[in-house]
């Protein structure tokens, strides 16, 4: 069984796994970090979004062999000051309904705000449209992103 090195939430680890296992399942079933969710397994819902070397990716579509040596951040590792401010905006606006899609939403939103601290509504729409929310929390997500952007700037 091949072995792969990863940095996950700032911790260096190595895992032995079948080369084609998607990162999603390494994270969930092998590392026990269940905040990252399975929704479609095809890269179309965004529930499994994590940061890979700083960029948001759909972890269900990246095989471990392509992730070797990479640095991954999951929702559990989203603990920098600005990231916490995003989570606080989510809490303040009571964004989640069932909550299942929210880790993916927050991961995508966090990456958006790093690259673009002042996103317009259209930019938020375009970026966040890769994440599906079956419960329909979209308008609160949008408000939370704007609120977080404002709070981070201050």
């Amino acid at each position: 069984m091949p072995s792969y090195k990863l940095t996950i939430n700032s911790e260096s680890i190595s895992v032995e796994a079948s080369p084609d296992i998607p990162l999603l399942w390494v994270i969930r079933d092998m590392l026990g970090l269940t905040g990252t969710k399975y929704g479609c397994g095809k890269g179309v819902c965004g529930a499994c979004t994590v940061h890979f070397n700083g960029s948001p990716i759909k972890s269900c579509t990246m095989a471990i062999e392509n992730a070797d040596g990479g640095a991954i951040t999951t929702i559990e590792g989203l603990v920098k000051e600005k990231e916490i401010m995003i989570k606080e905006a989510w809490i303040q606006l009571d964004v989640p309904q069932c909550g299942y899609c929210q880790a993916g939403q927050i991961m995508n939103a966090a990456a958006l705000l790093v690259n673009n601290p002042n996103p317009s509504n259209v930019e938020i729409d375009n970026t966040m449209s890769s994440n599906l929310c079956r419960c329909g929390t979209y308008s609160r997500i949008k408000q939370a992103i704007s609120l977080a952007a404002k709070n981070i700037k201050q």
């Binding site: 069984m1 079948s18 084609d20 296992i21 998607p22 999603l24 399942w25 969930r28 079933d29 092998m30 026990g32 970090l33 269940t34 905040g35 990252t36 969710k37 399975y38 929704g39 479609c40 397994g41 095809k42 179309v44 819902c45 529930a47 999951t74 929702i75 559990e76 989203l78 989570k87 989510w90 809490i91 303040q92 009571d94 964004v95 989640p96 309904q97 069932c98 909550g99 299942y100 899609c101 929210q102 880790a103 927050i106 938020i124 729409d125 375009n126 966040m128 449209s129 994440n131 599906l132 929310c133 079956r134 419960c135 329909g136 929390t137 979209y138 308008s139 609160r140 997500i141 949008k142």
Partner: protein
């Protein structure tokens, strides 16, 4: 109704070295001085600890409807708790909790009095205790913020100082509820109980359960409903690294496809047991299998709808008022139209899953379910167990929408865990979820109306033909008029009215979807009314108001009356807030619909733009809601917005089709869901009153569909009579 929650069984909890030890004793015998109690459980729902914290039990399954917050808010309000010093614990399934299910928008309706009573009883005990301590009459004392206050002097005592004496008070059967004007918690926007854990990724949904030595499993299911297994090649799956076992699962060996009503058994297939979910999924994909589908209907959508159309002329009358035929002969004008509604899937964001640890004749289950009782019934039947041999935990659920009313996904997990004597987490893929749902039935509606010379409706006929939820899977039985009910709108409003149902038998598994039959039936009814308004060149809202007649109670069926006052009120209000009368630019239009559902009244206006090239943009939705008292305005607003988006999304794209007895769609690429960039601005206005709270999960959905279709007509003149809208030419 007998209420188990206020039984005079007093549990006193005392702490042992390692934590709370539950001592279930009658109050009188458990009150012993030498044993210093730290936790006082006044009922299975309310516990107060000597550290001043109140722990409330959230008894119902949380599927995102916010019930884990709303029910404890009612308890906290009545007892006078301090919301910031309240902890909320999710209950396991237990019959003592009563009405422990999620469906039909019933949770608040059914639990309003149960929760108020449980809270008020504890308030009574605390005030009695304070009266003894403070030597003051009880009628001068109130409880608030985890303290009992003297109204006159302002002197107060904390709950924790009252516990010993309060524990001795007999909880009264009759107890006065707090006046609405005094509410401090109810009516205040309150973030969801689990919101912090959700944003930190630490909430454990069913799919996140992990137990020592747990095996991961999935089932490669026969795609054809009711199909069986002919043969399979075990080695083909075992070639996948991580696959441990390959096991054939025939539901006939376990009591058949339906264990009892609402308790379906698993779908026939081959289970793959592995060391990760991924290995199980991959093993299932690699498995070479031949199915046995002999003797099945192997239905196709086209053929199924043809049968629905045929059935329009062979119906059972569900309601008959006056004489529609006479009205037709007398009428100045008759008009008819046929509407068509597709099958829909639920697609909750968290795919179906269940974790079971079956050992020593004891079955412990972690299951995201709306209906734990049905799961218990199913397990009892499957393994001849008694209720005490089953324990059902209710983790937070990633959406339900009716899908999780049916616990088929728990049965195979239990069978596998029993076989291995180890915990098994069974996960369905998204493909399994979409292809083996309990679909919202598609239907065909023939609408006929007779108008007098003033354009007033004197005759109304609604014929609905489809396959009924109650006889899905091709099982025989009385259709029981389930898809159109004798009380359906506009029953009671038209002197000559006939509602008819044409029943077709089908192998497709059918079930409740959010708003159940209203999710389909609101579309033809309210679009047809819109047609009538336009036919006569009358403003659709004015026409509808005239159709409803004066503000009054309208007798509908038995003692069920429709409150036309409240209905007219939401309609007039939505007309205002949507700027209904302000003209729109060319290519834009507004559509209206209003319904009553789960006791709540909702009026909605959708504004759209249809571009010259036929592109449709939904610009805005206005909704006015009268649901009585609003327990948690934040959760209530979310439910209304969510319901409206779901209605719009279903109207735009929702369609499940069948080919050769199997579902064609398989994932979000071909069963799309609305995305942020297509989401309109939704403005919700609640009518404030002190009437008992009513349901909100379902009622916002049905009117959104006709309101959208009516808006499209207003914008471009295209009458939508068939859903979904996507794929139809609008220019």
């Amino acid at each position: 109704m007998k209420n188990n929650l206020d039984r005079r069984t007093f549990l006193k909890l005392s702490s042992s070295a390692t934590g709370a030890l539950i001592v279930g004793l009658q109050l009188q015998s458990c009150y012993r001085k030498e044993e210093a109690a730290t936790q006082y459980a006044f009922s299975p729902l309310i516990r107060i600890d000597t550290d001043g914290w109140v722990t409330l039990t959230a008894k119902n399954p949380e599927i995102g409807q916010g019930i884990k917050t709303a029910l404890p808010m009612i308890l906290a309000e009545e007892m006078g708790a301090d919301w910031d010093k309240v902890k909320i614990e999710q209950a396991d399934f237990d019959v003592k909790y009563e009405e422990q299910w999620a469906g039909g928008s019933y949770a608040i309706i059914l639990n309003w009095d149960l929760m108020r009573k449980a809270g008020a009883q504890v308030r009574y005990a605390l005030i009695e205790a304070a009266s003894i301590h403070m030597k003051l009459p009880t009628n001068e004392l109130i409880s608030n913020n985890n303290r009992v206050f003297h109204k006159i002097s302002g002197k107060s005592m904390p709950f924790e100082a009252l516990l010993e004496k309060a524990a001795l008070v007999d909880l009264p059967e009759e107890v006065a509820f707090k006046p609405v004007e005094d509410y401090k918690i109810i009516g205040k926007p309150t973030p969801q109980t689990d919101v912090k854990d959700i944003v930190n990724g630490t909430t454990s949904f069913g799919i996140d359960i992990s137990l020592p030595e747990m095996l991961y499993a999935t089932v490669r299911k026969n795609p054809v409903f009711q199909g069986k297994i002919k043969s399979y090649n075990e080695a083909s799956a075992k070639s996948v690294f991580g696959v441990l076992e390959v096991i054939e699962l025939n539901n006939e060996d376990y009591g058949g496809r339906l264990l009892e009503a609402n308790s379906p058994n698993f779908v026939n297939g081959v289970a793959i047991v592995a060391d990760t979910t991924w290995a199980a999924f991959k093993g299932a994909e690699k498995l070479e299998v031949e199915w046995d589908n002999t003797g099945l209907r192997k239905e196709n959508s086209e053929e199924l709808f043809q049968r629905f159309y045929k059935q329009l002329s062979e119906t059972k009358i569900e309601r008959k008022d006056g004489d529609i035929h006479k009205a037709r002969r007398k009428a100045a004008k008759n008009h008819e139209a046929i509407y068509e509604v597709p099958f829909l899937a639920h697609v909750p964001m968290e795919p179906m899953n269940c974790t079971v640890h079956f050992r020593d004749n004891f079955c412990e289950v972690w299951v995201p379910t709306q209906n734990p009782q049905a799961i218990e019934n199913g397990l009892m039947k499957l393994f001849q167990l008694k209720p005490e041999q089953i324990k059902i935990h209710l983790p937070r659920i990633g959406g339900g929408f009716g899908r999780r009313y049916y616990g088929d996904y728990a049965m195979d997990a239990a069978v596998l865990s029993k076989k291995f004597g180890k915990p098994v987490k069974l996960t369905w893929s998204r493909e399994d979820d979409i292809q083996h749902d309990w679909y919202r039935p598609g239907s065909v509606h023939k609408m006929s109306v007779s108008l007098d010379s003033q354009g007033k409706v004197i005759g109304w006929q609604h014929i609905l033909a489809n396959a009924s939820r109650k006889t899905s899977l091709g099982r025989d039985g009385r259709p029981a008029g389930t898809e159109i009910d004798a009380y359906d709108f506009p029953a009671g409003f038209v002197p000559n009215l006939q509602l008819e149902y044409g029943h077709v038998l089908s192998d497709v598994p059918l079930g409740q979807w959010r708003a159940v039959a209203a999710s389909a039936n609101a579309f033809p009814v309210h679009c047809f009314l819109d047609e009538l308004a336009h036919m006569q060149q009358i403003d659709p809202i004015d026409y509808f108001i005239a159709f409803l007649g004066p503000a009054r109670m309208v007798p509908v069926l038995g003692d069920y009356e429709f409150d036309n006052n409240r209905f007219l009120h939401v309609i007039e209000k939505v007309k205002q807030i949507s700027n209904w009368e302000t003209p729109l630019p060319k290519g834009q239009g507004r559509g209206f619909a209003a319904r009553k559902g789960a006791g709540s009244f909702i009026a909605e206006v959708v504004t759209v733009e249809v571009e010259a090239n036929g592109n449709l943009n939904i610009l805005r939705v206005d909704a006015v809601v009268d649901c009585g008292i609003i327990v948690n305005p934040s959760g209530a607003q979310a439910q209304v917005v969510g319901g409206i988006l779901e209605g719009l999304c279903a109207a735009l794209y929702g369609e499940i089709t069948f080919r050769d007895g199997a579902t064609v769609q398989s994932n979000f690429h071909d069963y799309p869901w609305i995305r942020m960039k297509d989401v309109p601005d939704v403005r919700v206005d609640f009518i404030k009153n002190n009437l008992p709270p009513r349901g909100l999960g379902e009622p916002p959905l049905p009117p959104a569909i006709p309101a959208l279709a009516n808006a499209i007509f207003a914008a471009c003149g295209k009458r939508i009579r068939k859903l979904p809208i996507a794929g139809q030419l609008l220019n």
